[in-house]
C-alpha cells in the first residue's frame, strides 16, 4: 500500500466527521441517559470544525494537519471532550513529526497515540466508565497485533473489536470521573457515550484504511 499525503489525511477526518454526524442522534440519546445529552452535537460539530480548518490548505505536513485538527476541535467544543481529543491529536502530531507522508502503519498507530494523549490529559483509569474504556483496549490490541507482525488493516480491525467490547463493558461500570460521576449508581446499565464515540472514530479509521486498498484487477473473461 502506498503512503498517504496530507490531502488523504484530510479525507480521513472527513470520513470521521461524516460518521460522527450520522451518529449524532444516537450519541445524544446515550448521553441523555447519564449526562446532558450534548455529546452527539459536540463530537459532530468538533469534527466538522476540524474539517473546515484543515481542508483550507492541503500542503501542510501531516504533523501540522494533526496539530491544527486538535486546536480547532478544542476551540469548537471546550467541555471535557475538547481537551481530551486535543491532547489525543497533539500526541498523534508528535508521532508524525518530520514525516511528509503517512503510512498505513501510521494510521493504525493513531489509535495508541490517541489513547496515550487522552490518558495523559484525563487521568481516567480502566473501569471509570469513560472513553478510555474503549481507547485503552483498542490501543493494546493495535500494539499486540503489531508485535505479532500483523498488517495495519488487521491491527485496526482488532482495535475496532476491542473498542466495541470495551464500550459494551461500560454498561456494567459506575461512572467515577466526569459529569456522570455524580450519578453514581444511576449510571449503571448505560453505555458511556464517550466510549461509544471512540468506537465510531476507531471504526472510521478501519473503514477508511480498508477503502484505500488498491483495486483488485478484474480477471480477464
Amino acid at each position: 500500500m502506498e503512503d498517504f499525503s496530507s490531502r488523504k489525511l484530510i479525507d480521513l477526518f472527513r470520513l470521521i466527521a461524516v460518521r460522527m454526524s450520522d451518529a449524532r442522534r444516537e450519541l445524544g440519546a446515550l448521553d441523555g441517559a447519564i449526562g446532558d445529552a450534548d455529546h452527539g452535537n459536540s463530537m459532530a460539530e468538533g469534527f466538522a470544525a476540524i474539517v473546515r480548518a484543515i481542508a483550507a490548505d492541503d500542503d501542510r505536513p501531516p504533523a501540522e494537519v494533526m496539530l491544527l485538527a486538535g486546536q480547532s476541535f478544542l476551540s469548537a467544543v471546550g467541555a471535557t471532550t475538547g481537551p481530551l481529543y486535543a491532547s489525543a491529536m497533539l500526541a498523534a502530531a508528535n508521532g508524525l513529526d518530520g514525516k511528509t507522508t503517512v503510512s498505513a502503519a501510521d494510521v493504525a498507530g493513531l489509535v495508541p497515540a490517541f489513547a496515550d494523549g487522552i490518558a495523559k490529559r484525563g487521568h481516567a483509569r480502566p473501569g471509570d466508565k469513560t472513553m478510555m474504556d474503549a481507547w485503552a483496549p483498542a490501543a493494546r490490541a493495535v500494539l499486540e497485533a503489531e508485535k505479532a507482525g500483523l498488517a495495519p488493516i488487521v491491527r485496526l480491525s482488532r482495535a475496532r473489536a476491542a473498542a466495541i467490547a470495551g464500550r459494551d463493558d461500560t454498561r456494567a461500570m459506575m461512572a467515577a470521573v466526569g459529569r456522570a460521576a455524580s450519578l453514581g449508581p444511576r449510571s449503571l446499565g448505560h453505555i458511556d457515550p464517550g466510549a461509544a464515540s471512540a468506537v465510531i472514530i476507531i471504526a472510521a479509521l478501519h473503514e477508511w484504511l480498508h477503502a484505500q486498498r488498491p483495486p483488485v484487477p478484474e480477471k480477464a473473461q
Binding site: 445524544g28 446532558d36 452535537n41 471546550g78 471535557t80 481537551p83 473501569g127 456494567a172
Partner: protein, 682 residues
Amino acid sequence: MAPRLTNRQTEDNDAVIPLRFGDDPLLWASWLYYEEGLTQGAIAEQMGVSRPSVNAYLADARSRGIVNIDIAPDMFRTLTISVALRDHFNLQDCLVIPTHGDERSLIDRLGGAGAKVLARNLRSGDTLAVTWGRTVLSMADQISHPGLKDVRVVQATGGTTAQIPWTPEACASHLAKALNARAIPISAPAIVSSAKMREMLVRESVLAEQLGILAEADRIVMGISSLRPESTIHTSGFLEGGMQHSHYQDAVGSLTGRFISARGEPVIGPMHERTIGLGLDQLRAIPQRIAIAGGMDKVAAILAALRGGYVSILVTDIATGRGILNAEGYHDTTQRPTAQPDRALRPRTHVKKLINNPKDAVDETLRGAVLAHEHLIAPVPGSKRAIRAIDGPKPGKVAIVIGGGAGHEPAFWGYVGAGMADAAVVGNTFASPPPDPIIAATRAVDGGAGVLYIYGNFSGDVMNFGMAAEIMEAEGVKVRSIITTDDVASSPRETRSARRGVAGTVFTFKIAGAAAARMLPLETCEALAKHTNARTYTMGLALEPSSLPETRQPSFELGPDDMEIGVGVHGEPGVERRSVELADTCADLLLDRVLEEMPATEGDEVALLVNSLGSIPNSELYIVLRRVRQRLKARGIGVHCSYVGSYYTSLDMVGMSLSVLHLDSEIKSLLEHPCRSVVFSS
C-alpha cells in the same frame, strides 16, 4: 408483612360490635388470629370448632377479601430483586436486605444477614472455608449456631501482616470460635515473594495438610472485593503493591485473592503464581459458595463474580442488587401503576422555552447581559464568550478571572466589577469554555501582578482552565488556580477535594475580589480564596429538574411527589430522593448536614446564601431563610448577612441551595469591602 383487617361485610352498618363476630365465623377467626395474635389452636378452642376448621376459615377470609395482606413496599422490593437475581444468575438462593435500616452500618447489617444465611445452611461435620474482609469479619462476629459438632473452619487464603482487624487469620479464628469449630489456618502469607517460594512452601507438610483440608471444603463464605482505588483490598495493603497495573487492567474484582474480569474470567498476572490459597477453579468446585457483599462500588465486581458462576448464594442489599440487575439490562418492575387522573392530560413532549435558535441562546444571553449592565461590563474584544469589567486592568493589582458553563446566570458575569472579578468566561450550556476565551480574558485583565483563576471543580473546567494556565505561564504571566469544592453532598468529608463547586463559590469570588482590590499580592489572594472555599458549605435540593435549550427535555426524571436532595448545578441527580417535605423540614435537612461539618461554636458568625436554582419563587426562599435563621439563633451562631435570590442558577430548575460561609475576622472584613458588580454591590 402487615396484615390488615377490612370489614367488607359491615361497611354499611354503623353498629360494628364484637358480638357480631358470632354471626360470621370467618371474621371472628380472622380477628382473633391477625389482630389478637392467638394461635389457631387457641382460636379453635374459643370458637368451639376444630383446628382444621379455623385454618379453613382463615384461608376463606383471605380469598373473600375479609383479610388483605399488604407487603410493605420496601420488603416487596427486596423480594422481587432477590427473585430476579436468583433466576437471572441461577443461584441456589439470594437474600436482599434493605439498603437503609437501623443505625448499624451496611457492612454490619450485611454481616448479620450473612450470619443468618450461613447458620441456616451449616451442618455438623462441615468443612467451611472463609475469606477475609470487613463484611466477613462482621458476619463472624454476629453468627451463633449452638449445637453444631465437628465443624472445621479453614482459611481460604494465606495470611497477611497488614495492620487491619479483618485479616484472613482473624476472620477464620473469630468464625471458628463462634461456631465452636476447629480453626485451620493457612500457615503462610497470602502472597509470597516468588513463584519458587510458593512451590517450596506448598510442599511443606504442615501447609500441604492445611491446603488439603481447604480442598475438601463443603462450603465457603466469602466477600467480594472491588478493585476501585478506594476499595478495602487497596487500602488494607493486602496486595502489598503487587498488583502491577498492566497485567490487571482487565480485572474488576477479586475473590479469595484471585482476580476476575468483567465477564468473570480469571485474570492471570504475575501475582498468580505467588498466591497461596484457593484457586478460582477450586472455588467453583465447592458445592455451596455464599458471597456477602454490598455497596455501589462493588456492583461491577459482584456482577463479574455472578457471571463467572463463583457464587451460589448471594447476600446483598437492595441498591446493590438493583444496580447489578440494571447493569444486566433488567429493569425494576416493582413500581405499581399509579392511578390515572380521570381526564389525562396529553403527555408533554418538550419543555417550553423563551429562546430563538437554541444554538444562539448562550451568545444572545451574553449580548443582553452586556447591554443591560453596560455601565459595569463589556465583552473582551475579539471574543464572544469573555466578559471584562469596564474599568480595568489596574496596574499592580492581581486580576481575577472566573468562569464555567453557561446556564448559571447571573453567574459568572454578575460577579465582574470593581472589588470583584476582573473577567468572566462562559462556555456552552453546562460545558466548560475552551482555553481560547480564557486566554483572551487573561490577557485583557492582567495588570502585571499575576492572575487568579476561580472555578468550580468539574473535570471540563479543570482541564480547560488548566490548559489556559499552562499557556499563560509559558507567556510569563503568573497564574494561580482556585478550584472550589463547597458542595457537601457530592462527596464525603474525607474526599473533600472531589466535591463539586457550586453556589458557595460566589463567596470565594467576593473574598478574592476584595483581597485583590486591597492590592494584596497573588499568593495572599490565593491563600484567602482557598481559606474561604474551605469554610464554605453548600447543599441543595430540587423539586423539579432543569432542561437544556438544545434538548428541551428534563435532564432527569423526578416523580410527582419526589424531591432530589444534594442535587448538582447541572441537573446532576443528588444523593437521595424522597417525598417532598415541609419547607422547615427541608431547611433542617440542609442545615443539619452543613452543621455536621462546620466546626462552628456558640458566638461564631456566618454569612448565608439561600440561592434559587432557577425557577423557585422568592417567597419560598424566604420561608427557608427564616427557618435557617431560627435554627442558628437557637444554636447561638450569629448571622452577619443573608443573601436570598438568584445567585448561581441551574437554568430552570425548581430548587434551592443553602450556602453557609463560616466567618472569621479576616473574611468578614473582606466581605464588607466595597464592590460594584451586577450581583454584589456595596
